[in-house]
Point group: C2
Chain length 737, copies 2
């Protein structure tokens, strides 16, 4: 039945596209200004728009609905083809970043000219953004390149000397997806989060001035290594530095794995495929075992730890302050990106579910059973508004925090690089302080953002009913691809605990007179803390700022409670459940604060239209109220709000905002400016023609034969079963005779 016949009928036939379009006609919002707000600036918005157009139009890079029918082998091949294409875009992006396009080949310069500066993360900014945007339609591609650039690359950038950085990343060409392809061999079968306990060994041999890499036992097998199974020619390996039988702890080394021409494994390198995963099968995760693999001393990344062989004795020199931090700095880039991913991935599914909720009808008003009573749109049910609209607010609230974090990351790492090159000790402390704050914020925002989006996808899929379960509407693969973000590059629970412990330490330090300067810890001001503890400063929801500040008050009360408990119990175990909450609430506070500051300042928000401003403030309030209500247990238990305040203030305000935001829910999703090709989910396409679009994608991917799907290949087994006769049983009487 085609689009035409679908409209031949009257009566109950649905016209979902008319609902969606009328929402747009009646809108009072300025979509372009809203887009500038979520994309943080006109320059960013333009760049995002150009990149989206390119990755959705490029015949190699684009992702259609056939994507949902690919098996592992097909995904891996398609991903490889896309990587090769991305490499060409990359050279162009670097060229543009250098603004040296005429009569000049920047890449050649970087590879061959020693006078050329070392490429900074900023120089790769355009390509990083391209990667983050294409990850939104094909996450596995993002990972497969991200492991090479973000993990392998940043491991060298963070732990290598300037010569090593220049050699591996520029001369050899790694940064341009040339010459070598890298993977990041940190995790082992038996060790994930506990990096300090990794068991792979790198023993220094003074006679040959080289390291011998070994995998001592099965649990020390490098595991989950993205790119190892098929793509990688080199790996940055985390292994224990052993010199003269002394264990200096885990350091990093560049270890060649394959001949880049033949892709043959090198001597002593054993590699296997880890096989099928919950999602992201386009990534060739592998395992690696080393048997006496020899690498020259120079392959150890020696920015902070050096092995010096004077001939008659061997010494190990270490820069204590930065050595440890830098070991993890490779993971920072991933965490910061995952916060941005949370915004982009979330915006996709919010758009799909809200357009479906507007177009889909179910039950007549008050369950009126008469045939002519036209059915109610899902979005008009208060329960459905409560199920979907807060997720829209979540997406809007993640954006400013994500852009702010990205910015802090770039500036801080640039400083770190400068300081560690200059070796200026005095400048070390302030930088490492900044780095520590960056670790806390990125950890709590990564954990919170990825968790929020995991439940966003799950709850919005359920809000789309059965059609949400169809592969072609994207929720299934979307969820399977997404949830690994809650585990890798720092398990969300571990990250929450570590960040919360550091926040507790900051809180405890207040007593010693150490005050906080960074914006995200402003709730730790001595005045506010005293006011809250004395009870002179209590929570309210009158001004817009209050909606951020209540979370600061909540945090102070929980921190106070935890610090007290730890003093008594001498252990943080008893409060680990609370610590996870503290990290989450800290992230909420950072998100609300970043959003508040941006929206308050039109020159920063780029939103001058009054209705749009008003709506953005409503989303801000909805976010805060939704989570106060979700966590009303903590808010009442720690006496931030009384039970009656929850009933008479928080919940009525919350339920009151929903119908108001519902009025503009379609324009608010249009403002993300995601083309259908990026959504890749027919029930969420722009024109709102749910049933025809969905039906057409299903038919396209499952064309019925002339006579329906026809006989299945296994048809004989069924007919044999259906046609079988009776199982006559023996006449046992006879046998008895």
């Amino acid at each position: 039945m085609t689009r035409i016949t679908a409209n031949e009928f009257t009566g109950a036939t649905f016209r979902p596209e008319q609902f969606v379009q009328s929402e747009r006609r009646n809108s009072k919002l300025n979509i372009d200004q809203l887009n500038l707000f979520v994309e943080s600036s006109p320059e960013n918005a333009q760049l995002t728009h150009d990149l989206i157009t390119q990755v959705t139009m490029d015949p190699v890079l684009k992702t259609g609905s056939d994507y949902y029918d690919m098996d592992k082998a097909q995904h891996r091949k398609a991903t490889a083809l896309k990587i090769a294409k991305m490499a060409l875009y990359m050279e162009q992006d670097i060229q543009m970043a250098f603004k040296k396009y005429r009569n000049h080949d920047v890449v050649k310069g970087l590879q061959t000219d020693n006078e050329y500066p070392i490429l900074t993360a900023k120089d790769l900014g355009i390509f990083d953004k391209r990667l983050s945007i294409i990850s939104n339609q094909d996450p596995q591609l993002g990972t497969r390149i991200g492991v090479h650039l973000g993990l392998f690359g940043n491991c060298i950038r963070g732990n290598g000397t300037d010569q090593q950085i220049r050699y591996w990343l520029q001369e050899k060409g790694a940064l341009f997806l040339k010459g070598i392809y890298g993977c990041f061999a940190m995790t082992e079968l038996g060790h994930g989060s506990n990096v300090a306990q990794l068991q792979t060994r790198a023993e220094y041999n003074p006679k040959t001035d080289s390291f011998v890499i070994n995998t001592p036992d099965l649990p020390a097998t490098k595991w989950w290594i993205g790119g190892a199974a098929h793509s990688a020619t080199h790996a940055t390996v985390y292994a224990r530095l052993i010199v003269n039988d002394k264990d200096y702890g885990v350091k990093t080394y560049v270890v060649p794995l394959r001949d880049p021409d033949t892709f043959q494994l090198l001597a002593g390198v054993f590699i296997g495929d880890i096989g099928t995963k919950m999602g992201r099968d386009g990534i060739d995760n592998g395992w690696i075992q080393f048997q006496n693999v020899v690498i020259p001393r120079e392959y150890m990344l020696s920015r902070f730890t050096k092995v010096v062989n004077s001939g008659n004795d061997v010494r190990v020199l270490t820069e204590p302050t930065l050595d440890q931090i830098s070991g993890y700095s490779a993971l920072l880039n991933g965490r910061v990106n995952m916060v941005m991913d949370s915004f982009r991935f979330g915006s996709k599914f919010a758009t799909i579910a809200i357009r479906y909720a507007v177009g889909r009808q179910q039950f007549a008003p008050n369950n009126d059973k008469s045939d002519d009573a036209s059915e109610t749109q899902l979005i008009n049910y208060p329960l459905h508004q409560y199920r979907v609209l807060p997720h829209l607010a979540i997406v809007y609230l993640i954006s400013p925090a994500a852009f702010k974090l990205m910015d802090t990351y770039h500036t801080t790492l640039e400083q770190l690089y400068k300081v560690s090159s200059s070796g200026n000790k005095r400048e070390l402390k302030p930088v490492s302080m900044k780095l520590k704050d960056l670790f806390i914020d990125s950890a709590s925002l990564k954990a919170t953002g990825t968790w929020l989006v995991a439940s966003l996808i799950d709850e919005l899929r359920q809000a789309c009913g059965g059609h949400g379960y169809s592969a072609y509407n994207g929720f299934g693969k979307g969820y399977n691809d997404w949830v690994v973000q809650c585990t890798w590059e720092g398990d969300n629970n571990i990250l929450s605990l570590t960040s919360a412990r550091s926040i507790m330490k900051k809180y405890a330090d207040l007593a010693k007179g150490n005050t906080q300067t960074s914006e995200s810890f402003r709730y730790l001001s001595p005045e506010l803390v005293m006011g809250v503890l004395k009870g002179s400063h209590s929570a309210k929801l009158e001004t817009l700022e209050d909606y951020t500040d209540v979370w600061g008050i909540m945090l102070i009360k929980m921190l106070h409670f935890c610090v007290k408990l730890v003093k008594e119990t001498k252990s943080t175990d008893s409060i680990s459940k609370h610590l996870v909450m503290i990290s989450r609430f800290h992230a909420f506070h950072s998100m609300l604060r970043a959003y508040y500051l941006k929206l308050k300042d039109p020159s920063d928000s780029h939103v001058t239209d009054e209705n749009s401003q008003k709506m953005l403030w409503s989303l801000y309030q909805l976010f805060s109220l939704y989570f106060i209500d979700k966590h009303s247990g903590e808010f009442q238990q720690f006496k931030v709000f009384t039970p009656d305040q929850i009933s008479t203030i928080v919940q009525p305000k919350l339920m009151g905002l929903l119908p108001e935001i519902r009025k503009e829910c379609i324009p608010l999703t249009d403002a993300f400016k995601l083309p259908d090709a990026m959504l890749n989910a027919p029930i969420g396409y722009y024109d709102g023609d749910i049933y025809n679009n969905y039906y057409n994608e299903v038919i396209k991917n499952n064309p019925p034969e002339a006579d329906g799907p026809g006989k299945p290949e296994y048809h004989a087994h069924l007919t044999t079963m259906l046609r079988r006769g009776f199982q006559e049983t023996e006449d046992l009487g006879k046998l008895g005779k």
Copy 2:
């Protein structure tokens, strides 16, 4: 690296199996008695054991780790082979149920002998259980047979006359997976939950005394129909009965789709494949469109609605009381089974995650960095105990409620069948009352159970870190297969709303003096309600019974609040968020009550061992406390507990139970008696040898070639990329000349 070499090494090498085994050595529990408790009786326990052995040993039925690497086509074929094998077991199961094995073929009798009784749901009890157990290792198989027996079969059984039941289910052989294979054509592209608004038309033609079935437009296309794409020869179709242009609403009809011999589609039947889904790809869900398909009048299922053609006039006779209920009764069976599935599926993943948590080590105590400090087992972290152990309690608490519901279902439907045959009006009311209570309980337990297990799988996967994301440890496919249970056969939100509305009505009826007799509504006793509202009866946690009763008190207070609000607002919309909670809390109360009654009575619980009793009571308390804490927002807001009671009673009790239950967590999972073949997840195998088992399954399914995974087929694209030269740019200067 093999099992042997893995043990050649000392030092940091892990010995997870030793941890798991020592837990068993130190246990004080009686595993056999615990198993009798969760399996509800010795007979059930024995039957479960026998069936598990059969489905895990049978070479056709068993499911290995290769299952996780199958594509859609492979899954569908494997499922068809399993169906054919299950058909043979089925005949045996019916034979055994009849206890007429000698000199007699029961199936032949049922198919050919009119004196034979009509087969009841009880007679199929053994096979139903076999189905429910095999669904635990291969859910898609369970569905594919379940749609035929449970939906197609029960639709005929619930809506057909005795002759129709005998004809379709016995003579034609449907009940024995013979002759015809059925599907259940209810849902349409445009209509899911709102059955009354389905648009497929069945127009009666008096001249030919037949119905003409039509699909009026695209949204009326039958959609999601399990078995339609390839397997089904017949369908029970939900369509509007139109007689002389009058619409009598939605009735049910048996419509032939394919020739059972050739599997060719019949005239006017258009069928397509719905394609890939989030999970359960072994089910051939399809779409169906009817174009003037003619069926004889006798194919309308006419137990409650008849079309009588006297020759000169046509009348439609309806039995109002039961007609509507029976329309949905086909779905009851599925809902009841899903509560049992929740117990079985949950027990599988609880076992995997807890064995992993005991075997897996991470970080030294107090993050001691020294190499020799052996690392802490995950399960010894309070946070990890809080993350996994409550899920163990959930599984234990679902079991008694699931068995009780199954029992009520069988007795109630038998009564319904008797009454509707006898046509004895006086007996109608009590039965339909029972049926309504069954609808409420099954709805709230189905919604709550399936939601609990969805988050159980998700949270326990995260508790297994990266290894939980590997396909071979079962969480991925397990989650994808499971979550559809939250949507189909009654969307969880819709079910929650309808059951909660009925509970509200019962509460309101108290004022009219209508009291409740059924166990699951005991909290609606006038005395208790008055006591709670007057404040003379307040919540406490002293006796074991209190742990159930607090939920009754919570429910009364919420119901009171909601009824009041509805009186004011004249609509239930404003409280829909609360209604979902009421349904959830009602389910918690039913689960706790059923568990309490069973455990209190040793002749019912079969647990005489004191330690085991004590531990079962601890799980009971943990369940109640865990959810009081999770919902402490509601408990404080509705003043069941004060903030201080939450801090000083609920949470300390909760955290205090965890270490106690942790001591026996391995035996408590062993008590489910799930063999490795049923778990199909190496990190959860019985011997606890996590790393060797997991590594071996990965190698088995991804055997490395002599030289590692070797060159990927797409290798050329990568080398071309890595070997590409520089992009010389024109000397524009020259061109300028």
